[in-house]
């Protein structure tokens, strides 16, 4: 496959490179903001699950309008993220209490106007479980949010519209009178991903934010049944102007009204995957060999390469 094939397949992937965004997700936030005006008047914002950082880029661009860093942007992710001007970065698991506390610490005496979370777990392919973990990411984000969001503030998060999504809806409805589910045009029609836009934060009057217990999702009840006509389903609103590109459509490389096409490398090199070592070993034909537990990647690869080399030697020695 040619290097332009991904550009052909996915117009937003290509546009992201042309416009300097670290990921195509940037367009999702921009399209949602264009529809819901979530960034209007925002001073303090938290970007949860931010790596590689395109949402932070959008936040920085739209909030630091005249180059002044007059808005506080805190970005958090499990993965390390390349530095971004005007963005405070933290690395950690947002479901871990220590990470949550570190975020809250940044808002001593202040509150956030908006919390966004584009987190997605490492999907296993078992949808039910992936949806659960996704919901827990969202609830962890919500729990952090309840500590720092000012009344009336907004919360935007990625969800998987799957089997148990109504349980999340009923949960969110407790904190936000206005909950809408939306799907920007830059998110594929076929994808299970959507976003919840939760507005006008108004927690129950007796609610005390508590970090020591996780927020758990709801159970099916009579007013939110597993099946039947009483299920809590929030309104859906498609966003992205109809003239915007559609992520399922294949567009020609030469786009009308744009500069002539030029191949561009990705803005950000991909984050090193967890299976890097395994791939190295495969290349050096070391898969299936015994590996010492406490070696670094380089050492392991080297030792395997050596043992493979001796194997070859032995073979040659045979008559």
């Amino acid at each position: 496959m040619g290097k332009t094939s991904k550009d052909k397949r996915d117009v937003y992937y290509r546009l992201a490179k042309e416009e300097g965004w670290r990921a195509r997700s940037a367009f999702k936030l921009m399209q949602i903001d264009d529809e819901f005006k979530l960034l209007e008047g925002v001073k303090n914002v938290v970007d949860l699950c931010a790596a590689p950082g395109s949402w932070s880029q959008v936040l920085a661009k739209r909030l630091h309008k005249d180059g002044t860093e007059n808005a506080k942007i805190v970005a958090v992710d499990l993965q390390a993220m390349a530095p971004l001007k005007g963005v405070i970065q933290l690395q950690g698991d947002i479901t871990q209490v220590s990470t949550a506390n570190a975020i809250i610490d940044h808002f001593k005496g202040e509150s956030a106007d908006l919390v966004v979370c584009d987190g997605a777990p490492d999907v296993t392919g078992l949808h039910e479980m992936d949806e659960y973990i996704q919901a827990q990411l969202l609830l962890a984000a919500l729990n952090i949010t309840t500590h720092i969001l000012k009344p009336g503030g907004s919360f935007l998060a990625k969800i998987f519209r799957g089997k148990d999504i109504t349980l999340l809806y009923s949960q969110l409805k407790l904190f936000f009178p206005k909950v809408t589910v939306t799907k920007p045009l830059s998110s594929r029609n076929s994808s299970i991903e959507s976003f919840v836009v939760c507005q006008d934060y108004s927690p129950p009057s007796d609610y005390v934010p508590n970090m020591s217990n996780p927020l758990l999702d709801h159970k099916y009840t009579d007013w939110n049944q597993l099946t039947g006509s009483n299920r809590i389903i929030v309104p859906f609103l498609a966003c992205g102007d109809l003239s915007a590109y559609d992520s399922d459509t294949n567009y020609p490389l030469e786009l009308e009204g744009r500069e002539p096409y030029l191949y561009r490398p990705p803005v950000q090199a991909p984050i090193s995957p967890p299976y890097e070592e395994s791939v190295h070993l495969k290349k050096s034909k070391g898969l299936g060999k015994c590996v010492e537990p406490n070696m670094s990647v380089e050492e392991t690869v080297k030792s395997v390469e050596e043992s493979v080399a001796t194997l070859h030697l032995n073979k040659d020695l045979k008559p």
Partner: protein, 1017 residues
């Protein structure tokens, strides 16, 4: 349709995340249903619905035959008793938690259970009297999300929790501490990704972890006392790298670790970390679960395609473990020349020819039986040793045209039957066609079939008569490597394969013996350029194999005198060498090939390699036969020595307990009007599965898999006996579906088309090769037997294109297009109105459009086409449509149901009368589904919808009023399905039942009584 609806689940196949041995049973979860298989009959003996809509993730038993089953947030406990008549499976407790269960463990009193949930919380429950609250709840000071955990200990006070986190650590803690959060005892660091599973083994005191980083780690725990965890020490003793994707689960056996993963592999490791064996189940997808029974020495796995497979735990055979065949000293001294070729006869004896022209025979393992049959200078240095298919006769052929035929009887006596010079020069190849016919190839591709006179003709002696002469086309290596005779309607054909990968067809015509006939038809490079290795006629099926790693089924058409490929199966081996068939029965065949230096045997029944033998590679001389007592006999020459082994097939192969369908998501399904129980499924894996339901719809048999698409199959459409499949990389294929007298299905690929031209990749890419077909439909036709089928296709570039498939010339042609939608097209539906044919199309922008299908569209590419009506009925993508026609006083009412990405189901009643359209009524609901609606169907007065939210909703619609029409649609019923990611739905009526089939990550069918007399629309 009135009253309550009772819907019955009739069939389900989806990821099997848990399969466990339980005595002489296997218990497995298929969705929320528990299936119990007996290991004596290898059949499913009981099915119980345990959970509604969610999967079974784990099964644990205790000593009292109590079985704990958990999944999602629920646990249920059953009592198992097995009488001679029936298995009783009685629920004794059900518990629902507020968090996802990642581990469950029986404590030794047989009544208490310890659970761990996803927020790193441990629970103690008693299953007595269905207690409604936990006895204990313990929280770890490390609060985070877990993907996995395991608990060990016989009592709550000495329980240990091992918890697998997202941040790469295994956290070890003791739940039975003092008040408050429990501290972390150990943090096991080393993995580079999420921990997917943890397994504890008391015997070896080790913990095994599997991860996203594709590794398996073994941790040794030193304990001074079984209960004294506080002073324990942990070291990581070994790291196993062998999987090429994520590792889901592992089990620890006495001296082995077995792990399974996303790469379809089951890896067997020594405790020292050496990879001893891999079982690859490539067509079954992810291997989710693994268990072992020491009693049966069997593994059981559950896979992503929904299959459950038993696998005997065998290790690969090393050459050392194989019998080395040696000659007695007297022979060894006289025959110094190395052995060149060997074959096996049905009597079990080996025949060998050595470089000095000695022909030897004897039994493996009994040196005294070896004799030198003859030594013939003419066969020194060059000799073709070939054996007939009955494995009683064999032949030698020489450099200067001599052929010698031998026969072996049941005792080891070999006698020369006959000898004749048949060529002036070198014999390039000699192949047996039957008991008494051989095909000999001389110089320049000259082929002759020689027939040996029958034994009864003793008077005249035995002789060879030439009964056919042919010539192979000019080629680099111009001789056949394999050949077979095929009889079709009393006409006889010769099919042969050559070193260049081509297959040639010749007609056997008695009157033309004098002429050298050229092939009637050739399939050039059918098996790639490395050559065809075998071609056989097995129970009316011609099967060829090749060094391109494929097995193909061919068919000879006696009218057109052509060979066509019916199916192609890619094998997980470098070369495929031959096919073995157990005597007469065709229940399965074995495929023999080579992978690196290993000889591998693949079973079509289990769809996996059942035997691997390191024999140094396929270039050597080897032979392999299946003997009558169901054993496999293999012999080969390695480093000038002969080796032999006999393997019991029963020990190598075990039946599949449950068949799977597809390892990936299914995108679409379709069926034939004339044969509704056969279903076609198109999948993300680029395969079309042709399946058939059993009479009672409880078993779906996979009949044929069509694998020639180069990318995903997104849509299917049937038309008479033809069907069309299309999908990724702008590829479209036309197929013919045939049923023989025994209702056996065959599917023949008639045409394959890629928008930019399949054969000419250099033509200008006016059309993007990344483009996908999204939907295809054939235009209804009064005359189903017409030669030309009209098709409409919707594409991801926003176009609709009008195509024709000509079944005589087997070509597909694009006639014109419309860019009306401009956005990715999603669904098409064609319907015959009383006077017109109408097409309905939908796209990702929520638009629905109606078009008149006129014959001119399918002629020359010309004028621009526009829909006659369109509207935006959804906010975003319209994923499903269905139509019902209703009579009106004038014209027709078209009731259109649509389901969208925006959660909503819309009904639109359109009045169509002489080119005029008006919307007479509309109805919509977005409160029934919480996700994309991916299936809608109108049948009788029912509207049925389904969605990614895994709900199936039943509505009752009615139209009322005269002047102004009103649609009413009433919510009747909703059920939950166990199939994630539902992509398509199809509904059909058989007798007085309605059958509903949902496809996504798996297949599920439901049925409900349905009595209304239906007129097909």
């Amino acid at each position: 349709m009135t009253g309550a609806i009772t819907v019955k689940n009739t069939f389900i196949s989806t990821d099997v995340v848990c399969a466990k041995f339980f005595g002489s049973f296997v218990l497995a979860g298929v969705g929320g249903i528990l299936k119990i298989f007996s290991l004596t009959s290898n059949k499913c003996v009981k099915e119980i619905e345990i959970f509604k809509g969610h999967k079974i993730y784990g099964i644990q038993q205790n000593k009292e035959n109590h079985i704990l089953i958990y999944g999602s947030k629920s646990v249920r406990i059953f009592d198992f008793s097995d009488s001679s008549e029936d298995i009783l499976f009685t629920c004794i407790a059900s518990i629902t938690l507020e968090d996802w269960i990642v581990a469950a463990h029986w404590l030794s009193d047989g009544d208490q259970i310890a659970l761990v949930t996803a927020h790193n919380i441990a629970w103690l429950w008693s299953c007595r009297n269905n207690i409604s609250s936990p006895l204990k709840r313990a929280v770890c000071s490390e609060k985070c999300i877990l993907y996995s955990a395991t608990v060990c200990g016989d009592d709550w006070s000495n329980c240990v929790v091992f918890a697998g986190t997202v941040f790469r650590e295994v956290v070890v803690w003791l739940p039975a501490g003092s008040e408050g959060d429990q501290p972390v005892l150990h943090r096991l660091e080393g993995h580079n990704g999420v921990i997917f599973s943890l397994t504890w083994d008391w015997q070896t005191r080790s913990l095994c972890s599997t991860s996203d980083d594709r590794s398996v780690r073994l941790w040794n725990i030193s304990l001074l006392d079984k209960r004294d965890w506080k002073s324990s020490k942990v070291i990581c003793s070994h790291v196993f790298y062998g999987h090429s994707a994520r590792v889901w689960k592992s089990i620890i056996l006495e001296d082995l670790v077995v792990s399974v993963g996303e790469d379809c592999q089951i890896c067997v490791w020594s405790l020292k970390g050496k990879l001893l064996q891999t079982f690859e189940r490539s067509t079954s997808g992810c291997q989710w679960s693994i268990d072992y029974s020491s009693k049966f020495n069997l593994l059981v796995t559950g896979a992503g395609d929904g299959s459950i497979q038993l696998i005997p735990l065998t290790l690969p055979l090393k050459t050392q473990a194989v019998l080395s065949v040696s000659y007695p000293d007297c022979i060894a001294q006289s025959t110094l020349a190395p052995t060149r070729k060997i074959i096996l006869l049905s009597s079990g004896c080996i025949v060998a020819i050595s470089d000095d022209g000695s022909l030897l025979s004897g039994y493996p393992g009994i040196p005294s039986t070896w004799t030198v049959v003859c030594r013939d200078e003419r066969f020194a240095n060059y000799c073709l040793l070939s054996v007939g298919s009955t494995r009683t006769s064999f032949s030698l052929a020489s450099l200067n045209g001599f052929v010698a035929l031998y026969e072996g009887d049941s005792s080891n006596s070999i006698s020369k039957v006959f000898e004749q010079k048949v060529e002036d020069g070198k014999i390039w190849s000699l192949l047996w066609l039957s008991k008494n016919e051989i095909l000999v190839c001389g110089d320049e591709g000259r082929l002759m079939i020689w027939q040996l006179s029958q034994r009864e003709d003793v008077s005249s002696g035995r002789k060879l008569t030439c009964i056919g002469k042919f010539r192979l086309p000019r080629a680099r290596e111009r001789w056949p490597t394999c050949a077979t005779l095929v009889t079709n309607n009393n006409e006889k054909f010769l099919l042969c394969g050559d070193r260049c990968g081509s297959v040639h067809l010749f007609t056997l015509n008695q009157s033309l013996v004098e002429e050298q006939a050229v092939p009637n038809h050739s399939l050039s490079k059918l098996h790639g350029k490395l050559g065809v290795t075998s071609i056989q006629n097995i129970k009316n099926q011609v099967i060829s194999t090749g060094r391109d790693g494929t097995v193909r089924t061919l068919r000879v058409n006696q009218k057109s005198l052509q060979v066509s490929v019916i199916s192609t199966d890619k094998m997980p081996m470098d070369w495929v060498c031959t096919v073995l068939c157990p005597s007469r029965s065709m229940e399965y065949i074995l495929i023999v090939g080579f992978k690196e230096t290993n000889m591998v045997i693949w079973s079509t029944e289990e769809r996996r390699i059942v035997l691997q033998l390191d024999c140094g590679g396929g270039h050597r001389s080897w032979d392999c036969i299946m003997s009558d007592n169901r054993s496999l006999e293999i012999t080969f020459v390695r480093e000038k020595c002969m080796f032999y082994t006999s393997q019991d097939l029963e020990e190598l192969m075990k039946p599949t307990l449950l068949n799977g369908i597809s390892p990936r998501e299914l995108n679409c399904l379709s069926s034939f009007h004339s044969y509704p129980s056969a279903l076609l499924f198109g999948g993300e894996d680029g395969t079309i599965y042709v399946c058939k339901f059993s009479e009672d719809h409880s078993v779906l048999e996979k009949r044929i898999t069509l694998t020639s698409h180069i990318s995903s199959v997104r849509c299917l459409s049937t038309h008479g006996n033809f069907f069309f499949s299309a999908g990724g990389r702008a590829q479209l294929k036309a197929w013919r579906f045939e049923l023989d007298l025994e209702n056996e299905i065959t599917c023949v690929e008639e045409a394959s088309h890629m928008l930019k031209g399949e054969r000419n990749p250099r033509s200008p890419p006016s059309i993007d090769p990344e483009m996908r077909y999204m939907s295809i439909c054939s235009v209804p036709n009064e005359d189903d037997n017409s030669d030309v089928v009209q098709l409409v296709a919707g594409y991801s570039d926003g176009a609709l294109r009008w195509l024709t498939f000509d079944s005589t010339s087997k070509t597909i042609q694009v006639n014109g297009e419309s860019m009306f939608h401009g956005k990715c097209v999603l669904k098409l539906f064609a319907v015959q109105l009383p006077t017109d044919k109408v097409l309905i199309s939908t796209a990702t922008d929520g638009r629905v459009a109606l078009w008149y299908l006129v014959p001119e569209m399918f002629e020359a590419s010309n004028s621009v086409r526009e829909p006659f009506w369109s509207t935006r009925s959804h906010q975003s993508g319209v994923n499903s449509i269905h139509v019902r026609l209703l009579p009106a006083t004038e014209g027709t009412i078209l009731l259109l149901a649509s389901g969208g990405d925006d959660n909503s189901v819309v009904l639109t009643a359109l009045h169509i009368h002489s080119e005029r359209v008006s919307v007479v009524a509309e109805w919509s609901s977005s409160s029934a589904h919480a996700a994309q609606v991916t299936g809608v169907w109108l049948i009788g007065d029912l509207l049925i919808s389904t969605s990614i939210d895994q709900r199936l909703t039943f509505w009752q619609w009615s139209l009322s009023g005269h002047e102004s029409v009103l649609i009413k649609c009433q919510f009747l019923h909703q059920i939950v399905s166990s199939i994630p990611d539902i992509q398509d739905m199809k509904i059909w009526q058989e007798k007085s039942n309605l059958h509903i089939c949902l496809v996504g990550k798996g297949v599920q069918t439901f049925s409900l009584p349905f009595n209304e007399d239906l007129k097909p629309c």
